[in-house]
Amino acid sequence: MTRVRLRFTKLGKVRWTSHRDVARMWERAFRRVQLPLAYSEGFTPRPKVSFGLALPTGHESLAEYLDVELAGGDRGVELCGDVPALLGGLSDALPDGVDAVAAAALPAGAASLQEEVTSCTWQWVAVRAGRGRVDPGALAVSCEQLLADSTLVLTRSRKGREVTDDVREAVLDLRVLGAAGPPHAGGVRLQAELACRPRSLRPAELLAGLGAGGALEERDPRRLHQWISRDGARWEPLEAPSVATGAPPAPSERAS
């Protein structure tokens, strides 16, 4: 049994599909490239594919992951041996904006994405509700203030219930990148690293804690990285190669 980890993007119009939609796209793509999938037992066999953190509908990403289990036999291993061909075939079978960018076999017993990923880096544009300008300098001061504070109490909606808690520890980094260009001129581009444990903090939720001078709204949120942090080190589940055809990284070393 071989488990393969894949890294992929979700960009453009396709960002309006849901996490479930993405799962079904992948199932069809795997069948189209005739990857020999392992199926679950039972009444309605499903391919064994597990996705990491759900990406909220409407968010883009450069760093989505899934683990897929291949049926025993050489074909899966052989396919994974030619990673560029595999990635190219999958990307062709996936919608525009969803591209497979890296793949590697996982060592036996490797932990799941859900267990491993600890934080994500996000980038987005903050705009003023009602079209007012956002001052980059003032927002930078708010960000510094937020990071200097020891608590950040937010009320968030979770599964239809309002939950109030201190999320300060979930904000690992927060910075203003500068004024945004069109189509969000007047807005400010932000970047943050937000923990996903014990519960994920989302960029839009963080904006509520930055709303000095009127409510801010999030535009074009995009996930840039998912991170695994352990023992003071931090790495990605799979690094995206700078050139698509480049040699895949050796995640087995990183994941161990």
């Binding site: 309006w16 939609d21 079904r24 069809r28 793509a29 069948r31 189209r32 009444f43 066999p45």
Partner: protein
């Protein structure tokens, strides 16, 4: 024409299921718009997830985009939340491929598969920025065209639609394109709209309602008369003689988000001559035209390869009737390329053990539920509707299903049928209970769902003269059935809202005057009437009152033989005396055989158009006596092995 996308995208964060509005499906075409090409916007007037799988729309979409003089895009009715956002932001109805405004197209073409979508048609025209009244449109407005089964009574939408297409669209869509492309080149000047409509009326199968005068005597329709000598007095439907010449869709759309019937669909034949008297589809799509089996196999193989689907549905009005269906099915199941992970579904299963055998073969992979449609609760009732399934056949099929691992069965019934007595109604409950009892000898907790719909008489059928039941009558029948199924844990009763049947009745057999009612229901916010959360019969009845129209007259009244019916100037080829004879035979509970395998009784569908059945085998299918009422045991052996199966074996 610029894309509206920058104005649409900000709305998407605020609506449910935004993927409905993005397009991007596999199989979608980047349209080649240009001055020499008629630009079609194909609109399905219901939610995306209902409309996307529609095969008719997908066939026309491909055919048009293959032409050098056309370009086609698609649109679906925006859900109520999106509509509100669009109206607030001033965003018109848009196409999914390039997000262009609907008003910039040459043709808005609606697919009419059900009458309750009529208010959505008006809403979509209005959202396009076009006047809903055909007579008030400006020279530069698109032509509003409609096709689909409902156009066999076009009159309720006659005020709103410029031209209707009656029958199969494959050929006529090209002929319309030529007329429209010429109109486009002419610059759509003042007066050209009248000329293009006149020209369209001379295309076979096209009905232009504004070119007919309609006269009434009180409530009674007296005449529908063409205004010009070159406009046909009766518009005959179009029929594609050979389905094999049209292997479409070649590139079925694969949606990115969940839709109904989310699988590969391959149409294996068109038309049905079982002759069920309530069934409009079976009457208006005659004769039977089978697709060659080799083409079916090719379409399945290439479709699965291209889409990545793991399920294929072999569609038709009665798929088990396809000549050699068992060989086609086992060919798919045993195709090594499918590696045992492909399941096949046959909608509209016939009720017999042979069919269950085929179903057992194809659902090796995923054995979910089986559905049968006896439609009537007693043998007498089934003779009236000409659905000649004997009780033994039903129980044989049910026995076969439970013994081969199914645990759940669904039975479809109609109530409110002609001559229906209390005994007939209660027969539904009895059949369902007996099926559950058969199930108990095979599985521990069999589940039989009896799904009951209130019958709505449809135009161009033998029941077009029949008086539809009132809400009270239907509710009483549902009440009887609830009482009769209550004590049985194996039977679950489901029923269609009787109030929706009344609204459907208004729209199904209405004349032009009903258009005002549809408009009023729409203006009062009555869109998505197929959806129970948006349906309100009160809107319909108060609109009928407001326009002085009687529910009694339009819905709950039996029509005499000599009454001019609102759709009599549209022809499905069926002789009126054939339909009338069928109606009399129904009242006498006398059946009519299937003409595929017995002598022609000249209904008109073949003889009138010089076409005939296209079937690979002149013999009736094995075990398939249903619908013929004859002993056809010689028609083929029943290759079904009834193997006992360990209880619960399939539910591991």
């Amino acid at each position: 024409m610029t894309s509206l996308w920058p104005r649409i995208e900000p709305l998407l964060a605020r609506v449910h299921k935004p993927a409905r509005y993005i397009g991007c499906e596999d199989g979608a075409t980047v349209p080649a718009h240009g001055p020499g090409r008629a630009a079609w916007l194909l609109v399905y007037p219901d939610a995306y997830e209902v409309g996307l799988p529609n095969q008719g729309l997908q066939i026309l979409y491909e055919l048009l985009n293959e032409r050098g003089d056309a370009a086609a895009e698609r649109s679906y009715a925006p859900w109520t939340d999106m509509e509100a956002e669009m109206r607030r932001a001033g965003v018109p109805l848009f196409s999914l491929e390039t997000h262009r405004p609907a008003g910039s197209f040459d043709v808005l073409a609606f697919n009419l598969s059900a009458e309750l979508v009529y208010t959505n048609v008006l809403n979509c025209i209005d959202l396009a920025g076009v006047d809903v009244h055909a007579g008030r449109r400006r020279p530069q407005d698109p032509l509003v065209v409609a096709g689909g089964h409902c156009t066999f009574n076009p009159e309720p939408l006659a005020e709103f639609v410029d031209a209707f297409v009656i029958g199969d669209g494959e050929e006529v869509v090209g002929e319309i394109t030529e007329v429209v492309a010429a109109w486009k080149r002419s610059g759509r000047t003042e007066g050209s709209r009248r000329r293009v409509l006149r020209e369209l009326a001379t295309v076979g199968g096209v009905y232009v309602p504004s070119l007919y005068d309609v006269s009434y005597d009180g409530p009674r329709l007296v005449a529908v008369t063409p205004r010009y000598p070159d406009v046909p007095a009766v518009v005959e439907k179009r029929t594609v003689a050979d389905l094999g010449a049209w292997p479409y869709p070649r590139r079925q759309l694969v949606p990115l988000t969940e839709v109904v019937h989310d699988r590969l669909n391959v149409e294996i034949f068109r038309g049905c001559t079982r002759g069920c008297r309530f069934c409009q589809a079976g009457m208006i799509t005659r004769p039977v035209r089978e697709r060659p089996a080799s083409q079916v196999r090719e379409m399945v193989r290439s479709g699965l390869d291209r889409t990545g689907y793991d399920e294929v549905s072999l569609t038709s009005l009665s798929s088990a009737d396809f000549s050699g269906i068992d060989e086609v099915v086992s060919g798919i199941i045993n195709d090594p390329a499918c590696s045992g992970q492909v399941s096949v579904s046959l909608p509209s299963l016939r009720v017999d053990a042979f069919t269950v055998g085929v179903a057992a073969e194809i659902q090796k992979v995923r054995r979910t539920g089986l559905t049968f449609a006896p439609e009537g609760g007693t043998w007498r009732m089934r003779q009236v509707i000409n659905k000649l399934i004997r009780e033994e056949e039903l129980y044989g099929a049910v026995e076969a299903a439970f013994s081969q691992g199914w645990h759940r069965l669904k039975l479809y019934f109609l109530t409110g049928l002609p001559t229906e007595t209390e005994e007939d109604t209660l027969g539904i409950a009895e059949l369902a209970r007996n099926c559950a009892a058969v199930g108990r000898s095979h599985v521990r907790a069999p589940r039989v769902t009896a799904s009951v719909g209130g019958f709505v008489p449809k135009p161009q059928t033998p029941f077009q003269w029949f008086r539809q039941d009132t809400v009270e009558e239907l509710c009483a029948k549902v009440g009887l059935l609830r009482g009769a199924t209550r004590g049985d844990p194996g039977v679950q009763l489901r029923w269609h809202d009787p109030r929706a049947s009344v609204a459907e009745g208004i729209a199904s057999r209405g004349d032009r005057r009903v258009g005002a009612v549809i408009e009023e229901v729409w203006r009062r916010g009555g869109t998505f009437q197929e959806w129970s959360e948006h349906f309100d019969l009160g809107r319909w009845t108060s609109a009928m009152d407001a326009h002085g129209l009687s529910l009694e007259w339009y819905v709950h009244r039996e029509r005499p033989e000599d009454e001019l019916l609102p759709w009599d100037h549209v022809s499905a080829g069926l002789h009126r005396d054939f339909l009338w004879q069928e109606w009399r035979d129904a009242l006498a509970a006398a059946g009519t055989p299937d003409c595929r395998w017995t002598a022609c009784y000249d209904c008109g569908a073949c003889t009138g158009y010089g076409i005939e059945h296209v079937v690979a085998s002149p013999l009736p299918p094995a075990g398939g006596s249903q619908g013929t009422g004859q002993d056809q045991s010689g028609g083929g052996s029943v290759p079904v092995e009834l193997r006992p199966r360990a209880v619960g074996a399939a539910s591991r």
